[in-house]
Symmetry: C2
Subunit: 430 residues, 2 copies
């Protein structure tokens, strides 16, 4: 854990290093992924069979080897403990409600020149969702990716997920049932992304691909950007907690560790104006770590990437937060509005002492797929907009053409595009 | 020009080939671009000086060699012909008005469980806009990229543009003045994109980069996607005209050629239910070509990529249009609404007989930066949203936590994330 103080002479330099450190492997997977994608593009299902046997030790032979049926997902849902089923249902209902209100409105109006203008939003036809196998296979993640697509109106929602040794996560299948996923294919890795983008004999192509994955999956999405739409590149999780000294150190320690336990490369940062409180949180992190089953990962993250920044006043916090542009920002003070208004760059903000980041991971309603690695400077969390697109439209009348057509002719001629000019001029009777 | 008829037995196969043909060079520029970006990242301004001397025959020595001042842009504006200046001003005013209405609304509400939820939209701090040199350097393109950024509230808007042999396009400078561009740097190519993304000693980095460019520029943007936000990959222009037999063939021919004249790889497609009208348009294309200064490019595009599809009824047109997902779709009939409602995938739609696509290129108002190469299946035209991002927020009360906290604890435990569970449980007094 790194401890900084804005009053120290070396602060600027150390903070700049912190901002620049992206904690992302830039390992050279690009060439591997290129080859995997070419295999799937050229050989379709046959390539999937080979690669799935090789990487997932899973044989794609019978229909059941290829797909998990909607009935199996429904059975997984029915088999859940009552409490857990109710919790997943509550999460789905709250996520759905928040995203329903995101649906954009169409526009259609006629302006003073008599030109009818507008835009209509429509869902993409089909979306693909990657669900990792193993440890990072989370039902909450399925809901957060699938529900915005369904709310957007996507008619065909396809999940691909590796089932190493044939084993699938029943919680994820239950979540797929709740979300109304249409197809679940037992393929993973870059090859699954290729199948979704190009289509194979069995798997029809989709238009947008979202969902978390390892470096190969992320690189495959990056390479296919433009062939399909994708969500933003995702790096290790981050939390920035801005807290005064009147918080319970146990609560704040738990909040910091809730991100640290995701990944050794995750980063938890505390900004506080109270050095004694900073000490108490640091101690409490140690105590809490001893209680966690995830201590190995969480302590590696905290020891390597954890940071406590002491500030003279919390008024310094927004500038630091904006430079960090963190995925999650907690503002644990009594009156968080002032600080909140000054924070320009953050994926999601958690206001007040009673709002741990984890409540947003599961069921507050907003999406937990958020920009990491300072991408909150320019990117937003996943939303229904990622599964929709806008078509603008224009309708001219003869009168409107008389009003604005001549200017279009002048511009087209100035740009050296005579057919552009002509297509307007002929309608002006020229 | 290819002529198809939906009643011919070979139609399906020929149409499928048409849909798949992307007309985009997939030349191997990736490695070159990687090296150029590394040069700029590692050596900053010194790399720009060398590469600009090499590629643009322009020496970056004095301040004036590096930058075009706001005063020079103002002078270029003042020196315009009155008609042209009025036309550019009209275009800017109309584009600004259309994009103003795109600004998204913030949300802030408290739901039945007592959870405060919402989202705030904020502009990115800085945006970079690439403006090509030479033939494809268009003032309209500058307005279409710069004005949405300015309307979004971007405080620092930076143009990079190559000035081969030191020469800049005065029309583009005038447009930069109108749009309120803050900095104009005389660098181009992949190296300019690298400078915008990474920053150099002289050029501060930006958060989003948009604007058209050659294959090197496009590849540089693709490689930097995630370091900065970028606009959608753009391919050659396309127009699909759906027209009944009661159109003036001269008008429709001009419309088809207005896209063909952009690029030998551009594509113009006519769908009509009237074979005689199809013949007349084909003839008229020949006549019009003979009048155009751009005949060489336009005829190469039309001969190589032009298509006329005869349908038994225009009711067949929407399905074909959706498969093509074209950048521009004209619906040249008296009552275009029915066909328009059935078209799900298109960048922009031009309704009725009096709406040539070119009016949208200049000053109708909607953006002319639109998805090409079937990307209208999942992508939208450029908008203020490309220069903004959304931060979601959550505020829990103790009461709200009591209502939904236990479900979050259950889900966190089921996912094997004990610190997540703990951060909620401690606030429930557990």
């Amino acid at each position: 854990m790194l401890r900084l103080n804005t009053r120290d002479p070396g602060f600027e330099k150390a903070f700049r290093r912190l901002v620049r450190d992206r904690r992302e492997s830039e390992g050279d997977v690009a060439r591997d992924v290129e080859l995997l994608l070419a295999e799937v593009r050229n050989r379709g299902d046959a390539a999937l069979v080979e690669l799935t046997a090789k990487f997932d030790r899973h044989s794609l032979a019978s229909e059941d080897d290829w797909r998990i049926s909607p009935e199996s997902c429904a059975a997984a849902y029915a088999a859940l403990d009552d409490d857990l089923r109710a919790a997943l249902d509550l999460a789905a209902a709250r996520i759905r409600a928040y995203h329903e209100a995101q649906k954009p409105e169409d526009r259609d109006y006629t302006d003073a020149a008599g030109v009818r203008l507008g835009a209509v939003w429509r869902a993409v036809d089909a979306a693909g969702l990657y669900v990792p196998g193993g440890r990072a296979s989370y039902p909450s993640s399925l809901l957060m990716n699938a529900l915005p697509a369904k709310v957007a109106g996507v008619e065909r929602l396809v999940v691909v997920t590796p089932t190493p040794g044939g084993v699938a996560n029943p919680l994820v299948l239950a979540a797929a049932h709740i979300a109304g996923v249409d197809e679940v294919w037992r393929v993973g890795g870059a090859q699954a992304i290729g199948a979704l983008a190009y289509g194979t004999q069995r798997i029809r192509p989709v238009d947008v691909i979202t969902g978390p994955g390892n470096a190969w999956v992320a690189e495959a999405k990056r390479q296919l950007y433009g062939v399909v739409g994708i969500d933003m590149v995702a790096g290790p999780s981050e939390i920035l907690v801005i807290a005064d000294g009147r918080n319970n150190p146990e609560w704040i320690a738990a909040d910091l560790l809730s991100q640290a336990e995701h990944d050794p490369a995750a980063q938890a940062i505390l900004i506080t104006d109270d050095p004694l409180f900073a000490d108490m949180v640091a101690d409490q992190v140690g105590v809490t770590l001893s209680l966690l089953r995830t201590a190995r990962v969480a302590s590696e993250s905290w020891n390597t990437h954890g940071v406590i920044i002491e500030v003279a006043s919390l008024d310094e916090a927004p500038a630091l937060a904006n430079a960090l542009a963190a995925e999650h920002v907690e503002i644990a003070v009594d009156e968080p509005e002032g600080l909140f208004r000054a924070i320009r760059h953050a994926g999601s903000v958690f206001l007040g002492r009673h709002t741990p980041e984890a409540i947003g991971d599961y069921l507050a309603g907003p999406n937990h797929v958020l920009p990491t690695g300072r991408r909150a400077r320019f990117a937003s969390g996943l939303s229904v907009l990622d599964f929709m697109k806008r078509t603008s439209f224009i309708q001219m009348s003869e009168k409107a053409m008389g009003a604005i057509g001549p200017a279009a002719v002048a511009l087209a001629e100035a740009e050296g595009l005579p057919a552009h000019a002509r297509s307007v001029a002929v309608r002006l009777g020229q």
